[in-house]
């Protein structure tokens, strides 16, 4: 079974709307990484969270890691067509393994102009 569950699998929103993508694990997350991927291209690093309760923002994207370090969310405010792509979460699933990441299956985001 998938060790990192991402939801939803796909998301279609109107430009200007807010949206949230979730990443859940049954195990403690050691180093939670969010990446964005345009189709057919490599992954672009967005943010990394390490501490329980941590929250980081970059432009209109905010990522949070819950206190138990088993769930992370990525929130986009006032979405734009440039936000479209595949969002993947990656995490080390045991201490010392952060350099070996397990990835979720990704969330395909479409933003309609």
């Amino acid at each position: 079974s998938q060790e990192l569950e991402q939801s939803p699998q796909s998301l279609i929103v109107q430009e200007g709307k807010n949206l949230t993508i979730n990443c859940t694990s049954s195990k403690t997350l050691y180093g939670l990484y969010w990446y964005k991927q345009k189709y057919g291209e490599g992954l672009i690093f967005l943010m990394m969270l390490q501490k329980g309760g941590e929250e980081k923002s970059h432009e209109k994207i905010t990522a949070k890691l819950d206190e138990k370090k088993q769930q992370s969310s990525l929130h986009i405010t006032a979405s734009q067509p440039s936000h479209a792509g595949i969002y993947l979460c990656g995490a080390g699933l045991f201490s010392g393994s952060a350099r070996q990441l397990t990835f979720g299956s990704g969330t395909q985001l479409t933003v309609l102009p």
């Binding site: 990446y35 990394m48 993947l88 990441l101 979720g104």
Partner: protein, 113 residues
């Protein structure tokens, strides 16, 4: 600054033919290197990782092999391709130590016919 290169960008090969994909990193030394495969509509599957020259760890049994002949060169190979080897292959590197993010190459699209 560091950069990561992959080639070729796309490849179409017949079943049973050999494969060699190359990944090189510039601007860093002694990186950890990774090969991932991304099937259509799925997340990333870690295939191999290397913590140093000649040191290869395999994550899943398969038709592929990896080698690291130089510090910043990582090669993915196969003697005989299978249809199931089709996919998008991504190379990544991370600087050893701590919870540093992985940086990804642009990927190679492999189609086995």
């Amino acid at each position: 600054s560091q950069t990561i290169h992959q080639w070729p960008a796309t490849l179409v090969q017949p079943v049973g033919s050999p494969l060699s994909l190359e990944c090189t990193v510039e601007g860093t030394s002694n990186p950890n290197l990774y090969w991932y495969r991304q099937a259509a509509g799925r997340g990333l599957q870690l295939l191999f990782y290397s913590v140093g020259i000649g040191q290869i760890s395999s994550e899943v049994p398969q038709n592929l092999s990896a080698s690291r002949p130089q510090d910043r060169q990582f090669i993915l190979s196969s003697k005989k391709l299978l249809l199931s080897d089709s996919g998008f292959y991504l190379c990544a590197w991370v600087q050893d130590g701590g919870y540093n993010e992985q940086f990804f190459g642009p990927g190679t699209r492999l189609t086995v016919l």
